[in-house]
Structure formats: structure tokens, C-alpha cells
């Protein structure tokens, strides 16, 4: 029997497939359904210091080769968020990842401290949302020093829960950012957020379709870029990587792993595959591993670098 189980910073996952943040993770019920559909771990939608309605619609759209979104970090705020995470941890039979954001480094520390009370398996610092630049400025994950500062602020307050740092493909300083968050104390890197920002214009309206005008691009179109980013981060750091971006089948997931990912984030693929997409990808992975006489997926992490 082929083994898909992996260890991520000491935590066992039944398989490497993780529901990415912001995808159906608004309620405990949908997270539970993702686990039933085969997810090895699930991430809640990012929680911030205060309730936020996000951007007006249109916020999420399909285009020919994927999805573009500018939801704008809508969330019920950390007060309600703590309870959601607590309930999720209690009732979900898989590791729960609490994603969060803030406007400044100290804010990251403060939100992390609150969420830690709910004892999620992991905290995930979303340093890379590309859709709130008008309010929050350039994402932390674009610059090594600002990324490291946020990570230090979190680690000063929360030492015990492994910290995932979600980076952005949208920086030419990726390797330096990865090294900086590693030395600041990050335990895992999620590589990464959506690409861009991008824009879709409707000709007849003569206007961008998203109300935010620009949005993060995801889906199959960005996979080669996500794979290259995972490759670069693997070269730069020793900590494990969650490879996220455009994965929708077993071969895609194994490609991420060969580039250096220990786990694989799944997001936009739910639009075609629904909640059972995890089971489908896992069984395709097993088939390939089996056909190639590989007993554990762990053997493939980073092999493309060999």
C-alpha cells in the first residue's frame, strides 16, 4: 500500500493535500465537508483584527484558464474568529490551520495571540493578500525585512504553535523573503498566494469587471509559476513548504512535491471537482506512486533538484 501520510512540523497529516485559505472555509460545516472529501488538513478563511465586509461584488470570477478574485479579506473579526477556530478544532477530524492577517507587524502578533487560545494545529500568517493594497500598502511578503518583522512579532507572542507563513509569488526578492522569514522563526512556508494582481476588462462595459479592478489570479494558468516559486524557496530554506497554485490532479500535486513541497494546497480546483477533489487527487497520486514502485510520497520531496 502506497503511503500518502506526511509529517508537517511534527504534525501528522493523513495525506499532503490541504484546503487553501479563502476557499469554502467560511463555516465549520464546509471545512468538515472538505475533510470528508479527503483533505489532509483544512485552512479557515483569514481572520483579521476587526469584522470586514471586504470589497463589493463582483469579487470572484472565472475566466478562460482559471479564477480571479478580490474578495478583500472579508471576515467576522478575531472576536468571532476565535470561537470559530475553537469549534473547528473540536469538531474537525484533521489538523486545522488558522489563517490570519493584520495591518502591521504588531497587529499580526496580537491576532496570532488571540487565535492561539483556540489551539489550532497551525497558525498561518497571510502576509501576501494582493487585494488590499489601497488600505494596507504593499504586502509584507514583498520585502524581506517587513516579512521578517511580522514573523518576529508573531513569534514573540506565540511560540508553541507551528507558524506557516504564506508568501507571494509577486516579488523578485522571493529567495531573500523566504530566508528572512525562516531566520525570524517561521516553521513552514506556504508558497503561496494568488498571482498578480491581474485584471479582466469587459469590452461592452469598458470597465474592469472586479469592483476592486484588480484581483489575485489562480487556477491552472498559474501552476508553472507556482512550481518555480516552490523550487526557488526549496533552494533557499530548510523549513518545509506547502506548494499552492493551480493544482487540480494527482500529477500536478506530485509536480509540486518534486519541486520541493511537503504538502500541497488546493483551492480553485474545487470549482470543478467540488469537495471530493481531495479524494480524486489522492487516488491519482497513489496510482502514479504505485505504478512507479514508490512506497511513500515523502521520497519525492524535492527530487527534481537532484
Amino acid at each position: 500500500m502506497v503511503e500518502l501520510g506526511v509529517e508537517l512540523a511534527g504534525m501528522h497529516l493523513a495525506n499532503p493535500l490541504i484546503l487553501a485559505s479563502g476557499v469554502v472555509g467560511v463555516s465549520i460545516w464546509t471545512l468538515r465537508r472538505a475533510v470528508k472529501g479527503g483533505a489532509g488538513a483544512v485552512t479557515l478563511k483569514s481572520i483579521g483584527p476587526k469584522p470586514r465586509a471586504g470589497h463589493p461584488n463582483p469579487t470572484v470570477l472565472e475566466w478562460e484558464c482559471g479564477v480571479i478574485n478580490a474578495v478583500g479579506l472579508s471576515n467576522p473579526g478575531v472576536e468571532a474568529g476565535v470561537k470559530e477556530v475553537e469549534e473547528a478544532v473540536k469538531s474537525i477530524n484533521a489538523p486545522v490551520i488558522a489563517s490570519f492577517f493584520a495591518e502591521d507587524a504588531e497587529g499580526f502578533g496580537a491576532v496570532a495571540e488571540r487565535l492561539a487560545l483556540s489551539k489550532p494545529a497551525f497558525l498561518e500568517a497571510n502576509l501576501s493578500c494582493p487585494n488590499v493594497m489601497r488600505e494596507h500598502g504593499i504586502p509584507f511578503a514583498y520585502e524581506p525585512e517587513s516579512a521578517a518583522e511580522a514573523v518576529r512579532a508573531i513569534k514573540r507572542r506565540v511560540g508553541s504553535i507551528p507558524l506557516i507563513v504564506k508568501l507571494s509569488p509577486n516579488t523578485h526578492k522571493l529567495a531573500d523573503v523566504a530566508k528572512a522569514v525562516e531566520s525570524a522563526g517561521a516553521n513552514i512556508i506556504n508558497m503561496g498566494n494568488t498571482l498578480g494582481p491581474g485584471m479582466v476588462i469587459n469590452l461592452e462595459a469598458r470597465k474592469p469587471v472586479l469592483s476592486n479592478k484588480t484581483g489575485g489570479v489562480s487556477g491552472p494558468a498559474i501552476r508553472p509559476i507556482a512550481v518555480r516559486c516552490v523550487w526557488d524557496v526549496y533552494n533557499a530554506v530548510k523549513i518545509p513548504i506547502i506548494g499552492t497554485g493551480g493544482v487540480s490532479c494527482g500529477r500536478d500535486a506530485l509536480e509540486m512535491i518534486m519541486a520541493g513541497a511537503t504538502c500541497v494546497g488546493i483551492g480553485s480546483a474545487l470549482r470543478e471537482g467540488g469537495f471530493n477533489i481531495f479524494k480524486k487527487i489522492a487516488s491519482e497520486m497513489r496510482e502514479w506512486l504505485d505504478a512507479n514502485n514508490i512506497s511513500s510520497v515523502k521520497e519525492l520531496v524535492g527530487v527534481a533538484h537532484g
Partner: protein, 263 residues
């Protein structure tokens, strides 16, 4: 024609004032959809919202809108010849089930139900149509349902037309005197919850069309979740087997922040 994944500019063919609060907007679109399915309607520079179809014949579609917020008020100003942008249709509509059908609509909820009644009649079903509204000036599609060959049972909360009282009371009386295999309902969630409860008591089928704040329309953002079900993709029409298990049906919805609110 199949589904529009992204917005398509669509010309307004006609606007009809249905009652004091509601207008139907007919659009030049060849999409095909079944009653209960919805489209996302975009007004550039303003907003995008879901509307269930009140009409669809393969060459044009209709939505029926009450003027409540800024978006629907703007829709009420739209004139024939102008453009609206749509994507869809999304979700699952009503499925044919049983021979003797009760349709229970309240207020704007009647919008997809007249379209449904026409399909039911075409398919040879016996239809009872309970058409409820707060007051007579807010009754919708009374003539249209009549034209389809069904004499609607009208009820208003204030008794200004038809029976005085709630649609659910009229439905309970109907169940006591007629054989009904399945009820189809759309309207205020409290009303639909009551309809479902009556159907459970009477051990008959039921399908209800739910409404939640929506963003993507295709099952990725999770905003419209009711328990673990996504209204946009698993619904908006749900069968009684699902409805009877939903803890949030009739009690909880999520606002734009994703925070829970009591219904």
C-alpha cells in the same frame, strides 16, 4: 445555450411593472435554464447580485425584482434598449417529483414559481398555487398563473385580497382537504421553514429555494454556506431530505463579513 462563465452584456427587451413594488426585466439572452436556477446580474461600477429567473424560453430571460436596496432601485430605473450584464445560470432548479403539486410562494418568492407552475402544467401535473403577499398591491403573477391554467389561491396578511392570513395557514388547510405529493416553495425563510415542517408532519415531498449572500456563484468562496451545503452550487433548491437536517435553515445566515446573523 449553455452557461455563461463570465459576464456577458445583454440587452433589456422590456420592463414590466408587476405591482407596486416589483418589476420584471426581460433580457435578450439565449441561455437555457430551469425554474429555480439563478443568474448573477452585474451593473458596472455598482454591484453584482443573484436573481432567480422568473422567465426563460431559450431566446429571452426574465428576472423579477422588488425595489429594496440601491441595486434593486437602480434596476427599477432600467429602460428597454439599455444593457445589463449577466453570468450563469447557476445552481440546481426544482426537480419534478410527484403528480399532485402544491406551490407556495410569498412576496418576491413568487418570481420563480410562476415559471415553475408553467413547466408543471406542461408536464401534466395537477397544481395548487398558493400566492401570498403582505397586501394586495404586492401580489405577483396572479394573472400569469391563471393563464397557465391554474386558479391561484390568494392570501394576504392584511386581508386586502383573497384569504386573510399567512400562506402557510392556507397550505395547512389545503393539505387537510386535497391529496398533495410534493410542495414547492420560495419566499421568506420563516415561511419556507413552516412549509417544510408541515410537509414532514404530512410525510410528503418538499423542495425549497434558499437565498444567501453570494459572491462567486460557482462553489469556491463558501460565502453562501448553509451548514455544509453551498446555496450557489448544491442549491439554491434543496429537497426535504436535506432541508430537514439543516440547522441553519430558518435560523442563521451570514452577512458580507461572514459573521452569523439570526434570521
Amino acid at each position: 445555450m449553455g452557461k455563461l462563465k463570465t459576464m456577458e452584456a445583454t440587452r433589456v427587451l422590456d420592463v414590466v411593472q408587476e405591482n407596486q413594488r416589483m418589476k420584471s426585466i426581460y433580457l435578450d439572452s439565449p441561455i437555457s435554464a430551469s425554474p429555480g436556477q439563478f443568474v448573477m446580474v452585474w451593473i458596472p461600477g455598482m454591484d453584482e447580485k443573484p436573481f432567480s429567473l422568473s422567465y426563460c424560453d431559450g431566446s429571452k430571460i426574465g428576472i423579477t425584482v422588488a425595489a429594496v436596496g440601491p441595486f434593486s432601485k437602480r434596476l427599477h430605473e432600467v429602460k428597454a434598449g439599455e444593457m445589463l450584464w449577466i453570468r450563469g445560470p447557476f445552481g440546481n432548479g426544482f426537480r419534478l417529483e410527484g403528480e399532485n403539486i402544491a406551490v407556495i410562494g410569498g412576496g418576491c418568492g413568487v418570481a420563480p414559481l410562476a415559471f415553475l407552475a408553467e413547466e408543471l402544467v406542461k408536464n401534466g401535473r395537477k397544481v395548487f398555487f398558493i400566492n401570498g403577499a403582505k397586501t394586495k398591491d404586492e401580489l405577483l403573477f396572479v394573472e400569469r398563473v391563471r393563464k397557465a391554467g391554474v386558479e391561484p389561491i390568494i392570501c394576504t396578511d392584511d386581508g386586502s385580497e383573497g384569504r386573510k392570513g399567512f400562506a402557510t395557514d392556507t397550505f395547512a388547510e389545503l393539505l387537510a382537504r386535497e391529496k398533495v405529493d410534493c410542495a414547492y416553495t420560495c419566499g421568506p425563510e420563516i415561511m419556507m421553514k413552516k412549509v417544510v415542517d408541515l410537509c414532514l408532519q404530512n410525510k410528503i415531498g418538499c423542495q425549497a429555494s434558499l437565498e444567501r449572500f453570494m459572491k462567486c456563484g460557482f462553489g469556491v468562496c463558501g460565502q453562501c454556506a448553509v451548514d455544509g451545503l453551498l446555496v450557489c452550487k448544491d442549491g439554491p433548491v434543496f429537497p426535504i431530505s436535506k432541508l430537514s437536517k439543516l440547522k441553519e435553515f430558518g435560523s442563521v445566515r451570514r452577512n458580507a463579513c461572514g459573521a452569523e446573523e439570526r434570521i
